[in-house]
Symmetry: C2
Subunit: 183 residues, 2 copies
């Protein structure tokens, strides 16, 4: 049971966003800009970083939700998402994405862990400043979202189909879209 009173039927962050609209407004706008705004990374790549960090933080709701969004965005390459969660170094990802996931993994632990060598490796594989920025901020942001969701004891659906359906809708409509039980 959640640690605070939340509307029934709205899992994970969705009940929190509904009950606390003053902060939700900015969190939705932030997610939209970060994960879907202009970037040298595709939205699929940014959602993969979000999924990877949520998996490292063992946040069941966020991991399943963003994995479903990433699968929807990767389309024919959807299996990449589960391969990346299982072992990204052995997944069929570009060297750039692997180098960025190394950085994301360091940020998940502690921002100070990112080294000049980590950044140099990402640049050598084609990452520009914006890609490095968006990787670090996405990893940092999911250290927030994961703690928000789990720190308040919200519930996570166990039905995989529910995540796939919600993920496809979110991938299509983005983070500013709000539709009660459609979320």
């Amino acid at each position: 049971m959640a640690h605070i009173d939340l509307p029934p039927g709205l899992p994970g962050i969705t009940g929190l966003l509904t009950s606390y609209p003053e902060t939700a407004k900015h969190l939705r706008g932030f997610a939209e800009a970060l994960l879907r705004g202009p970037s040298s990374l595709t939205s699929a790549e940014r959602e993969l970083i979000a999924t990877f960090v949520s998996a490292e933080n063992e946040c069941v709701f966020c991991m399943n939700s963003h994995a479903a969004i990433a699968r929807s965005l990767f389309g024919a390459d959807r299996d990449l998402v589960d391969h990346a969660i299982a072992d990204f170094q052995r997944a069929d990802l570009s060297d750039k994405m692997k180098a960025l996931l190394v950085i994301a993994g360091k940020v998940q632990q502690d921002g100070r862990g990112v080294t000049e060598d980590d950044v140099a490796a990402a640049r050598a594989a084609g990452a520009d400043d914006k890609a490095i920025h968006d990787t670090v901020l996405t990893a940092a942001a999911f250290c927030m979202f994961n703690r928000y969701v789990d720190g308040l004891g919200t519930w996570a659906p166990e039905d995989a189909a529910a995540y796939e359906q919600a993920g496809a809708l979110r991938a299509e409509k983005g983070y500013l879209y709000v539709a009660g039980c459609d979320e």
Copy 2:
């Protein structure tokens, strides 16, 4: 040196917010709503939580910046801030604030660490749902801000007076205020 190209003279998060305005707009609005919007906690109490989490994450820029803001807001009780960072259980804080800092410390480590007993203790000391929500989200948010600042290798001033001056200005004007070198 920072891991990406940032404008000279703007320490910590200020250079990042200047260089990446698409996300900065939402981060500023989020900080304003979270730390200064309507709440059952005072802004001074919320800044104390932000400072405590930044200290736990050893983020020098965020800890010094928010300690200075908190000191400015606590006014005559400004010494409370340093006492709380050093050992909050022995500081002259209310039982409610001590219980909320226990929760913030759990969230800083891993959101799943917050127990029903932690929340019950905070409620028994007078915390309502909004106070518990704002404590968890503030602690979670600074796990993001700290990682954003440190994950990109930004620099932190060593001059205590610079933090005090910037903190007093931020305490007065809030997070939507932008003024280049005044930050």
